[in-house]
Amino acid sequence: MLRDDRRMLEGARDLAIAFNIGRAEEAIHRLKSGVGLDSSDLPHFVRIADLFLDVLEAYQWIAQTFQGAAGSVRPDALRLFQLVLPAVRDSMSEAPPADVFSELATTAGSIGAGQVVSAEQRDRFERALRQLASVATRQGIDALETKPAVASFSQLPKLALM
């Protein structure tokens, strides 16, 4: 696969991650307002849970590498780790990385399944989602701007508001 093609796919995936996060955040807002989730909300939380599990897998592989006992890891998981790391850096000072990723995956799964989570846990989850959405949208647009299709890609959102 050509480098630009891979960048384009990564950009599309980053924007899809941001999309899932937007849906999840809105669903959590509804939940906090006393309105329950509906069946269309669940896939977004499942995808977010899978994302954090992939990141956990990548982190464990990196940790094993430093101990000289690494197996293999999917390149996709490593890239997701790079994507998520800036978004959860603040939480790293409060808990070991593996615990942070594991808790975020568990929280996503629990909320999606309609289970009650603590307010603190939900706040940490929301904070991570906000930061991750910001990183994902920025990287998504950067990736697509590698090869502008029609004009400067960064102009497009502005054009929509003209």
Partner: protein, 127 residues
């Protein structure tokens, strides 16, 4: 005017523009799909169907964000922003598909290269 009223006004304005953009993109995708189907370029038409499905996902999410009138303005701005960037991504892929002379991409490489022309997608996107 209070900050809240100003924020509501800005959100209303952005929502209006996103509505226009979604409608324009819907039309643009449908037209492009018809052209590719007429040209018997089924791979390109299939890819456009995928883009169309993604657009409907965005339209559905946008509907929810518009309805979330009690959510903090900052959150609604961010959610609208995600939709806007998602739509920009769709415009990018559509433009790459129909742009004459563009290098075959991982998607368009599956499609027969043709000399289809379309009116500027940025015209459609700008409403």
């Amino acid at each position: 005017m209070t900050f809240s009223a100003n924020a509501d006004k800005a959100i209303g304005y952005i929502a209006q523009r996103l509505d226009v953009w979604i409608d324009a993109l819907r039309t643009e995708l449908d037209e492009a799909q018809s052209r590719f189907e007429l040209g018997d370029d089924r791979a390109a038409a299939s890819f456009l169907k995928i883009l169309r499905a993604v657009l409907e996902e965005h339209a559905s999410a946008f509907g929810r964000y518009k309805a979330a009138s009690t959510a903090p303005a900052g959150d609604r701005f961010r959610w609208f922003g995600i939709i806007g960037l998602g739509l920009a991504g769709l415009v990018y892929h559509l433009a790459l598909l129909i742009q004459k002379g563009s290098r075959p991409s991982v998607f368009t490489g599956m499609c027969t290269r043709r000399s289809h022309r379309s009116r500027s997608v940025t015209q459609g996107a700008s409403g």
